[in-house]
C-alpha cells in the first residue's frame, strides 16, 4: 500500500509512525522486528525522492541503528540487516556523504562478524549489493573488506563464504563492465576504475584456488547445488576476464602441482583452474600452454573419476570456443591432431550424461570455429557422417534423466549442419532431413497420459522443428540445393500442420520459425499451403502473451509476402487487421512493434496498389510512432536502442509502401510526403542515430523522390537539410550507406531538374 500511496503523498504519517516504533525504548522486540521488515520493503518499493531528505535520513538511521549489537536482540538485528539490504538503493544521498557512508560501512562490517550465522550472511549480502551499487565509493574500505571476506571464505559457514566470494565476483562484474566501457568510449567523463582486482590479485587468486579443492561428490548432476568450489571457480573465471595475462603465472603452478595427484579432487581442481582462466589472457600467453596441455586433456577423458572427466570435457569446449579460430589464423586444432581430437570426442560422447553434455558443447564450438573460416569448414567433411550419427544416438539416449542432454545433442547437431561446407555435404544433409522428419512424425504418435508426457513431447518436437528449420535454411541457401527442400516441402508442411494441432507455445514458435524458412525456400509454391496454414498464422499474430511467438509470426508474414508476391492479397485483410490490432495493444511487448512496421513494408511491396485501402491506418500508426520516438528519454540507453529500431522500421515501411505504389498509384502517398520528410529531418538532426537508421533514412528519401517524382520538387527545395544529410552519407565509411546515398542523390537530382 505504501508503494502506491507514498509517491502520491497520500500517507504522510506512515514513516513517522514506523520510526516511532523504533525510537521508543519500551516497544516490544517483535514490533521493532516487524517495523524494520516493513521499512525495508517500503524503501525497496519507493524512491528516496518520494520522501524529504530528513525522513530518508531518519529511516536509514533507524535501520542501521537496528543492527547495533549493544542495543538489540538478534532477531531485531537480523531484521535490520535484511532491511538495509532492501534499502541500499534508497541510501544514495547518504552514500554520497562521507561521514554517513563511513557509519553505514562500519555497522555493516561489524555485523558481518556477528555471532549468529544468519546475521553474518545478511551483512555479507549487503556488502555484495554495495559492491555493485557503490563500487566507486569503496576505495577506503577495501583493505578491511578484503580481510573480512578472506576470513569468511577460509573459515566461515558455507552460506557466508558463498556471499564473501560473491562480493569479489560482483567487483569483477563492475570492473569488466568499466573496461568494456573504456574500450568503446573515450573522453573525460568515464566512471572511475579503481582496479581493486588487480591490486588484490596476489592474495585473491590463492584464496580462490583453495576453494576449488572443496568439491562435492555429485555436484555435476544436480542443478540446485551451488557450493564453495563452484563459486570459487566461477569467480576465478571472472578475475581472469578482469586482469588478463597477469593471472596466468598465479594459477599455473597450482595446475602443475595438482594435475597428476592421485586424489581426484586435486586433478579436478587443477583442470577447473586451467579451464577457468582461458578467457581474459591474450592468445599469445595461452597458446603455448594449451598446445602443451591438449594431449594431456584428451587422455584425461579416460580418467577414472567422472567429475574429472566432466571438467576436462568442459575445458576442451572452452579451448575450442576461445582458442580455435582458423579464420583469425589461430587454432589448437591442426590437420595432424583433428582425427585424434574427434576420435576422443566421439568416444566420450557415450560417457555419462553430464560428461556427454559437455562433449556436445565441445563439438559445437569446434564446428563453429571452422564455419567462421569459410572454405576451411570442409576440414570437417570427412567426419560429418560420424558426428551426425553420434549426435543422433546421443539424442536418443534414455539415461539422460531430464531432457538436457537431448536438447544439447540437437542444438549441437544444428550447429554442425549450419557450419558444414554445403558444396561437399549436401548429400549428407539431404539424408538427415527424412531421419529428423520421421522422428517428428513419431512424436505425434506418442501416448500422452500426463502433463509431464505433454511437456516432454513438446520439448522434443521443439528440438526437432529447430533441426528441420536449420536444414531448410542451409539447403535453401544455394540454387543447387534448394530443389531438395522443394521436393520435401509437401511432407514437411503436412508435419508442421500436425504439430501446430498439439498447441504448445514453444513448439508453435519453433514450427513458425521453420515455416518462415520454408516459405522463403518455396517461393510462390507456398500458396498451396496457405489454406490450411492461415489459421495458425492468425493464432500467432494474436498471441500477446508469448510475444516471441507473435514476433516470429510477424516475420513469417514478411517471408510469405515476399514468397507469394501479389498472391498474398487474398489474406491481407485478415493479416492487416491483426497487425493493426497488435500495434494498438498495450498488452503486447513493445519489441514486436518495430517488426510490424517493417512487415507493412513487405506487404505493401508485394501487393502494390492494393495497399491503398490500408494506407490511412498504417500512416496514422507510423505518425504516432514517429511522435513517440521524439519523446523517448535520451539518457535511457535501452529506450534509445528501441527508438532506433522503431525509426528504422518506420522508414522501411515507407520504403516498401512508396516502391509498391510507384508504378501505378504514387499519388496516394502525396499527402504524407511532407510529414515523412519532416520526420527524416528530425532523425537527421539527432546526432545519436544509429548507422542502420541513417541508411534507412537516406534510402527512403530516395524512394520518396523516385516514387513521387516531380511532385516532390518543392518539398525538397523547402527542406534543404537533405543536401547536408546526403553530404554526410557520401562521406561515410560504410560503403552501403555511400552507395544508397549516391542512388538517392541521383533520384533527387532527377526531380530537381524536372
Amino acid at each position: 500500500i505504501a508503494s502506491i500511496e507514498i509517491p502520491k503523498k497520500q500517507w504522510p504519517e506512515l514513516i513517522g509512525c514506523l520510526l516511532n516504533n523504533m525510537t521508543q525504548q519500551d516497544k516490544p522486540a517483535g514490533l521493532k522486528q516487524a517495523t524494520l521488515e516493513t521499512l525495508g520493503y517500503v524503501c525497496e518499493e519507493i524512491s528516496h525522492e518520494d520522501l524529504v531528505q530528513d525522513e530518508v535520513n531518519a529511516v536509514l538511521t533507524a535501520v542501521v541503528q537496528g543492527m547495533n549489537l549493544a542495543e538489540h536482540s538478534s532477531e531485531v538485528r537480523l531484521a535490520a540487516a535484511r532491511a538495509l539490504y532492501n534499502a541500499l538503493d534508497f541510501a544514495q544521498t547518504n552514500f554520497e556523504n562521507e561521514m554517513e557512508r563511513n557509519y553505514i560501512m562500519k555497522m555493516v562490517c561489524e555485523t558481518a562478524i556477528s555471532k549468529e550465522v544468519e546475521i553474518r550472511q545478511a551483512a555479507f549480502e549487503c556488502l555484495v549489493s554495495i559492491a555493485s551499487t557503490y563500487y566507486e565509493k569503496l576505495e577506503p574500505y577495501m583493505q578491511a573488506l578484503f580481510e573480512l571476506t578472506s576470513n569468511a571464505v577460509k573459515g566461515d559457514e558455507e552460506a557466508v563464504s558463498l556471499q564473501a566470494i560473491e562480493f569479489w565476483s560482483s567487483i569483477c562484474d563492475e570492473e569488466i563492465e568499466l573496461q568494456e566501457y573504456e574500450s568503446t568510449e573515450s573522453g573525460d567523463s568515464e566512471p572511475p576504475h579503481s582496479r581493486f582486482i588487480e591490486k588484490a590479485l596476489s592474495s585473491l587468486v590463492p584464496m580462490l584456488l583453495e576453494t576449488l579443492l572443496k568439491q562435492e561428490e555429485d555436484q555435476d548432476q544436480d542443478d540446485s547445488i551451488w557450493n564453495l568450489s563452484m563459486a570459487g571457480g566461477t569467480c576465478l573465471g571472472l578475475v581472469s576476464r578482469t586482469v588478463g595475462d597477469a593471472i596466468v603465472p598465479l594459477v599455473m603452478p597450482f595446475v602443475e602441482a595438482n594435475i597428476l595427484k592421485p586424489e581426484w579432487r586435486c586433478r579436478e581442481a587443477a583442470t577447473y583452474a586451467f579451464g577457468s582462466i582461458l578467457e581474459g589472457p591474450s592468445i599469445d600467453k595461452l597458446s603455448p600452454l594449451v598446445h602443451a596441455g591438449l594431449d594431456f586433456l584428451l587422455k584425461a577423458m579416460k580418467d577414472e573419476n567422472n567429475h574429472v572427466r566432466d571438467t576436462t570435457a568442459w575445458t576442451l569446449s572452452r579451448i575450442f570456443e576461445l582458442l580455435h579460430s582458423p579464420a583469425g589464423g589461430i587454432s589448437v586444432i591442426s590437420s595432424e591432431n583433428i582425427q585424434q581430437i574427434l576420435g576422443v570426442l566421439l568416444e566420450s560422447i557415450n560417457d555419462t550424461p553430464n560428461v556427454a553434455e559437455k562433449i556436445c558443447g565441445a563439438i559445437y564450438y569446434l564446428c563453429q570455429g571452422y564455419f567462421e573460416a569459410g572454405q576451411a569448414s570442409s576440414v570437417l567433411t570427412p567426419f560429418l557422417t560420424d558426428i551426425i550419427t553420434q549426435l543422433i544416438r546421443t539424442a536418443d539416449r534414455t539415461d539422460g534423466g531430464d531432457s538436457k542432454l537431448r536438447s544439447s545433442a540437437y542444438e549441437t547437431l544444428n550447429e554442425v549442419v549450419r557450419c558444414s561446407y554445403i558444396v561437399d555435404t549436401s548429400p549428407i544433409i539431404e539424408q538427415l532431413l527424412p531421419v529428423i522428419m520421421n522422428k517428428l512424425g513419431q512424436t505425434l504418435e506418442l501416448q500422452i497420459v500426463s502433463s509431464d508426457d505433454r511437456e516432454k513431447q513438446g520439448d522434443l518436437q521443439a528440438s526437432l522443428c529447430g533441426v528441420i528449420q536449420v536444414i531448410i535454411q542451409k539447403l535453401s541457401s544455394t540454387d543447387e540445393t534448394r530443389p531438395i527442400i522443394l521436393r520435401a516441402s509437401d511432407q514437411i508442411m503436412a508435419l508442421f500442420l500436425r504439430v501446430f494441432a498439439c498447441r504448445s507455445s514453444t513448439v508453435h514458435e519453433e514450427a513458425m520459425l521453420a515455416i518462415g524458412s520454408l516459405a522463403y525456400a518455396c517461393g510462390p509454391k507456398f500458396e498451396n499451403y496457405m489454406g490450411e496454414f492461415y489459421r495458425y498464422l492468425e493464432m500467432g499474430l494474436q498471441n500477446f502473451e508469448e510475444y516471441q511467438v507473435c514476433s516470429i509470426t510477424v516475420g513469417v508474414v514478411g517471408d510469405i509476402s515476399r514468397a507469394l508476391d501479389d498472391k498474398v492479397l487474398q489474406f491481407c485483410d485478415g493479416i492487416m487487421k491483426h497487425l493493426l490490432n497488435d500495434l494498438g495493444s498495450n498488452e503486447l511487448h513493445r519489441s514486436v512493434k518495430p517488426h510490424i512496421f517493417s512487415c507493412f513494408g513487405d506487404i505493401a511491396l508485394a501487393i502494390g496498389e492494393h495497399f491503398e485501402r490500408y494506407v490511412l491506418y498504417v500512416v496514422q500508426a507510423m505518425q504516432q510512432a514517429a511522435a513517440v520516438c521524439a519523446q523517448l528519454d535520451a539518457n535511457d540507453e535501452e529506450l534509445m536502442e528501441y527508438g532506433n529500431q522503431l525509426r528504422r522500421s518506420i522508414f522501411e515501411a515507407y520504403s516498401g509502401i512508396l516502391q509498391g505504389f510507384k508504378d501505378s498509384k504514387p499519388e496516394v502517398m502525396l499527402p504524407y510526403a511532407s510529414h515523412l520528410l519532416q520526420f527524416i529531418e528530425v532523425v537527421f538532426l539527432d546526432r545519436q542515430r544509429d548507422e542502420s537508421v541513417t541508411k534507412a533514412a537516406v534510402a527512403v528519401m530516395g524512394d520518396l523522390a523516385d516514387a513521387l517524382g516531380p511532385n516532390t520538387k518543392l518539398l525538397f527545395r523547402d527542406r534543404a537539410f537533405y543536401i547536408e544529410f546526403l553530404g554526410e552519407c557520401l562521406q561515410s565509411d560504410d560503403e552501403s550507406i555511400k552507395e544508397t546515398a549516391t542512388w538517392t542523390q541521383g533520384m533527387i537530382g532527377r526531380v530537381m531538374v524536372s
Binding site: E44, N86, E125, V128, L162, Q163, E166, S169, D220, W226, M230, A231, T234, D310, W314, S317, E321, K358, G361, Y364, S408, E411, N414, E415, R418, A462, G466, V470, Q473, E510, L513, G516, S517, Y520, Q548, I552, G558, D559, R562, S598, G601, D602, L605, E652, G656, Q659, K662, A699, G702, D703, E739, T742, W743, Q745, G746, M747, G749, R750, M752, V753
Partner: protein
C-alpha cells in the same frame, strides 16, 4: 524482495541455440527485405540510366548490367 540468486552459470557452454535460430531468421528476413527493396530501387536506377542525362553526371549511379534486361 528476495536477495538475488547467488548461482551463476557453472561449467555450461553459453549456448542458446533457440536464440541463435531466432536471430539468424531475423537476419535472413532483414537481408531478404533489403534485397527486395534494393531490387525495386535498382530498377529505378536503370530507368534513370536509360534516360538522357539531364543533371550533374556524378549524381548518376552506375547502372547494374544484370538488371538492365529486366527493366526493358
Amino acid at each position: 524482495m528476495a536477495p538475488h540468486d547467488l548461482r551463476r552459470p557453472f561449467k555450461r557452454p553459453a549456448i542458446s541455440d533457440q536464440q541463435r535460430r531466432r536471430e539468424l531468421s531475423l537476419q535472413r528476413q532483414a537481408q531478404n527485405r533489403l534485397d527486395a527493396q534494393h531490387h525495386a530501387r535498382r530498377l529505378a536506377s536503370t530507368l534513370l540510366f536509360l534516360q538522357p542525362p539531364q543533371s550533374d553526371p556524378e549524381a548518376d549511379p552506375e547502372p547494374d548490367p544484370e538488371i538492365a534486361p529486366e527493366a526493358e
